[in-house]
């Protein structure tokens, strides 16, 4: 059965093509080797598979599925929530901040005899957004009727009731000016009627005066409407930008190494990347953590369930260490291990994640012949446990001895694939790789 399928994989860095149109199929219980001269793009293929690089083209499928993080409802909720927050933020910014500040905060501080209160400020801010005219208490129990931002005074009143009346008259005037009402002539005077034509709001001797008053209030009438409109536009834009941005950030991180590790692929590195300052056992245990359950609180308190889990994990880690031949070195720091042991520890750590496919990047590099024979046996044992192995290797002895299939890369392109026998006889391979090595 097909485990890993690379389909026309392309990786480019800027203008440079590192891997071009590589097809590969790794089956279950198979040791598949990738060989080729240095700089052929072998490690780049590994990095593309494990999510370190994003492929520029082609697909990578693992058990028939693309290796990506699954879409969950939490992500959509997050997009909506962030969108709403951004939207409201944008709506807030879209209003005239200076005017809002003056309407909600500054006027509240200037009010005589009353301490500043957040409730009043919130109320004033709401009124401002609504476009309601502001009532301000002045010294000596006088009241002023002002524009919503408190900047222009429309009139003064001697009591609160009178001020309320005045405000309602002004609001009707503004309303009338905002509609298409024109002054009408009644009994030799020019009268401004309210919007529904039920009431006289003001009367003047000349038509020009009446028109001037209407024009004056018309500017005020346009204001709240325009303010509401721009706030609405900002709100919608903010929602779109906020949720789209959240989506973009999330979808860019769909193919992280963590997702790939959880899907069942593990790897080792050409230049060993152990957790140098942790013990051998701890290194293996980090690979097992994702299988364990339990929240932070339970972890901190070391409840019995957690302890049992961790004891079982340690037991399994010890077995793995025994399997790769590191039994008895559990307490050593990883950095103090000899080179060959570090390589074996990296394999044990990769196996701890319970993979179905393990990627080994030059595991025999720097090993002596005895050690590489030992390694051959280990890789064979890994396959016998039901895992597939994708191997990059320079040691021909290792490669030819254990591989079921071999692919040869040269300058980023696959030039040959087949069983070890077929590859060994392929003239292209001899020319590009084995031939050049024999000459040098």
């Amino acid at each position: 059965m097909t485990l890993l399928k690379l389909n026309k994989l392309i990786v480019r860095f800027g203008g440079l093509t590192a891997v071009e149109d590589v097809d590969c199929v790794v089956r279950e219980r198979q040791i598949f080797s990738i060989i080729g001269p240095n700089g052929a793009g072998k490690t780049t293929v590994f990095n593309a598979i494990t999510g370190i690089y994003e492929p520029s083209g082609g697909t990578i499928e693992f058990r028939g599925q693309p290796l990506r993080r699954r879409l969950s409802w939490q992500v959509l909720v997050l997009c909506v929530v962030v969108g709403l927050i951004t939207g409201f933020g944008a709506a807030l910014v879209s209003v005239d901040v200076n005017a809002l500040w003056r309407a909600a905060i500054k006027r509240n501080y200037a009010r005589p005899g009353e301490p500043f209160s957040y409730a009043a400020a919130g109320h004033d801010a709401w009124n401002y957004m609504q476009g309601t005219l502001a009532l301000d208490r002045m010294r000596g129990n006088r009241w002023a009727v002002r524009t919503p931002d408190g900047r222009r005074t429309l009139g003064y009143a001697k009591s609160h009731d009178e001020a309320e009346q005045m405000r309602s008259r002004f609001e009707k005037l503004i309303d009338a000016a905002g509609s298409t009402t024109a002054p009408v002539e009644r009994d030799g005077k020019w009268v401004v009627r309210d919007r529904d034509d039920t009431e006289n709001l003001a009367s003047f001797e000349a038509e020009a005066d009446a028109r001037a008053v209407l024009d004056k209030y018309a500017t005020l009438a346009r204001d709240p409407a325009a303010r509401r409109r721009s706030a609405l536009v900002a709100l919608l834009l903010g929602i779109v930008v906020g949720s789209a941005g959240t989506w973009a950030v999330w979808s860019r991180a769909r193919r992280t190494p963590e997702v790939i590790s959880r899907a069942g692929i593990a790897r080792t590195f050409q230049n060993i990347r152990l957790f140098q300052n942790m013990t051998v056992l701890e290194n293996v245990l980090t690979g097992m953590d994702r299988g364990l359950r339990g929240g932070v609180i339970r972890m901190a308190l070391q409840l019995p369930g957690i302890r049992q889990q961790e004891r079982a994990a340690r037991e399994r880690a010890r077995r793995l260490l025994g399997f790769v031949g590191l039994a008895g070195k559990e307490r050593m720091l990883a950095k103090n291990l000899p080179y060959g042991d570090q390589r074996r520890l990296e394999i044990a750590r990769a196996l701890a994640t319970e993979p179905q496919l393990i990627l080994l990047d030059e595991p025999a590099a720097g090993m002596n012949p005895a050690e590489s024979i030992e390694l051959n046996r280990l890789i064979g044992q890994i396959r016998d446990q039901g895992l597939s192995v994708l191997l990059i290797e320079h040691h021909m002895k290792v490669v030819m001895g254990i591989s079921d299939r071999i692919a040869v890369l040269d300058y980023g392109a696959k030039i040959a694939e087949g069983t070890p026998e077929e590859v060994r006889k392929n003239p292209k391979v001899i020319a590009a790789y084995l031939g050049s090595e024999e000459v040098s």
């Binding site: 992280t256 959880r262 690979g287 953590d289 972890m299 070391q302 990769a350």
Partner: protein
């Protein structure tokens, strides 16, 4: 303006006694700096970001503590005059305020730093400065521009007896009795638990950690939560100990705590504690023997001297063992 030191009560009759007294005060102050420094150092250890907003999270924590003390008396009828109630109340504050600061810190990470995870290092750094300004102004709006008095709930009675040569008050004891267990618990947490192991792994090699199936974003979030919680605890203790809070205290104390973290070797947990103690000592001994106005200069001269001879800090090593 620097946070005031409680050195007024020092009896200068005998040389070594004076020295011990200053040292005691210095260590107490240092423990407080260390608690804040741990937040800087843990975050740096894991994502190599100097989280300038950390000091301001600390400041908002102390404002919350102040507000809670008032609200508990007003709405719950909490009697802050009774010793048992004080103990219980402080315990409650030490739960609520760290939770708040942890949540705030995690939110900052999620909203501001996480989208910049793959950006060049400078981008999150500048964002951190921006967040610091935002939080400082939130503090200004919340608490006003003036210094605010924080209720003096813990007694200044000496625990060594009134006649003892050295003065070590209940207040000093409170600082030590809260900070030291927290630091020990933190060390154990990072050393022994699974999450602590994941933190160390992420600090040493984020890529390899990810390939082990560790959700690095979650580990980073947990680090921010821990750092925030420490800042929250420090905020409560600071308020109770110094009795003055202001919207600028995050910047000032953050600067000292950051210095402590660098001094000990940034990214190194024991280093941050050591750095905090060194700075506390330098400040109290400096103000006692050199003069109050020279303390800041003295602290930074020590920092420069140590960085010249040990660029990685006192306990910092060249290897990448960060947390």
């Amino acid at each position: 303006m620097t946070p005031p030191l409680l050195v007024a009560a020092v009896d200068t009759s005998s040389g070594w006694q004076t020295f011990l007294q200053y040292a005691l005060i210095g260590l107490t102050n240092g423990a407080l700096f260390a608690l804040v420094a741990l937040g800087y150092t843990m975050v740096y250890g894991i994502i190599e970001l100097i989280n300038f907003a950390h000091g301001d999270v600390f400041m908002l924590g102390s404002f919350l503590a102040l507000a809670l003390i008032g609200a508990m008396a007003k709405y719950l009828g909490w009697n802050w005059g009774e010793p048992a109630m004080i103990g219980l109340g402080i315990g409650l504050l030490l739960v609520v305020v760290p939770l708040f600061c942890a949540a705030l810190n995690v939110t900052i990470d999620r909203v501001v730093y996480k989208p910049l995870r793959r950006a060049p290092k400078l981008a999150p750094l500048v964002s951190a400065i921006g967040v610091s300004f935002v939080l400082m102004n939130v503090g200004l709006l919340w608490g006003g521009a003036a210094d605010r008095h924080f209720p003096d709930l813990v007694s200044r009675q000496s625990v060594l007896g009134e006649t003892a040569a050295l003065s070590f008050t209940v207040k000093d004891l409170m600082v030590v009795a809260i900070t030291v267990p927290i630091m020990i618990a933190l060390t154990l947490f990072v050393k022994t638990t699974r999450l602590g192991k994941a933190m160390r792994a992420t600090a040493q090699d984020p890529l390899a950690a990810q390939l082990m199936g560790i959700n690095v974003d979650r580990v980073i979030g947990a680090t921010f939560a821990l750092g925030g919680a420490l800042a929250g605890a420090a905020a409560v203790i600071y308020g109770l100990y110094i009795n003055t809070v202001s919207y600028q205290m995050g910047f000032q104390n953050g600067l000292y705590a950051f210095t402590a973290a660098v001094l000990g070797g940034i990214g190194n947990i024991p280093g941050a504690v050591l750095g905090g103690l060194v700075i506390g000592l330098a400040r109290s001994l400096g103000s006692g023997y050199v003069g109050e106005r020279w303390t800041s200069a003295l602290v930074f001269v020590i920092l420069i001297a140590i960085l010249v001879f040990r660029p990685a800090g006192l306990l910092g090593s060249r290897t990448r063992d960060k947390v």
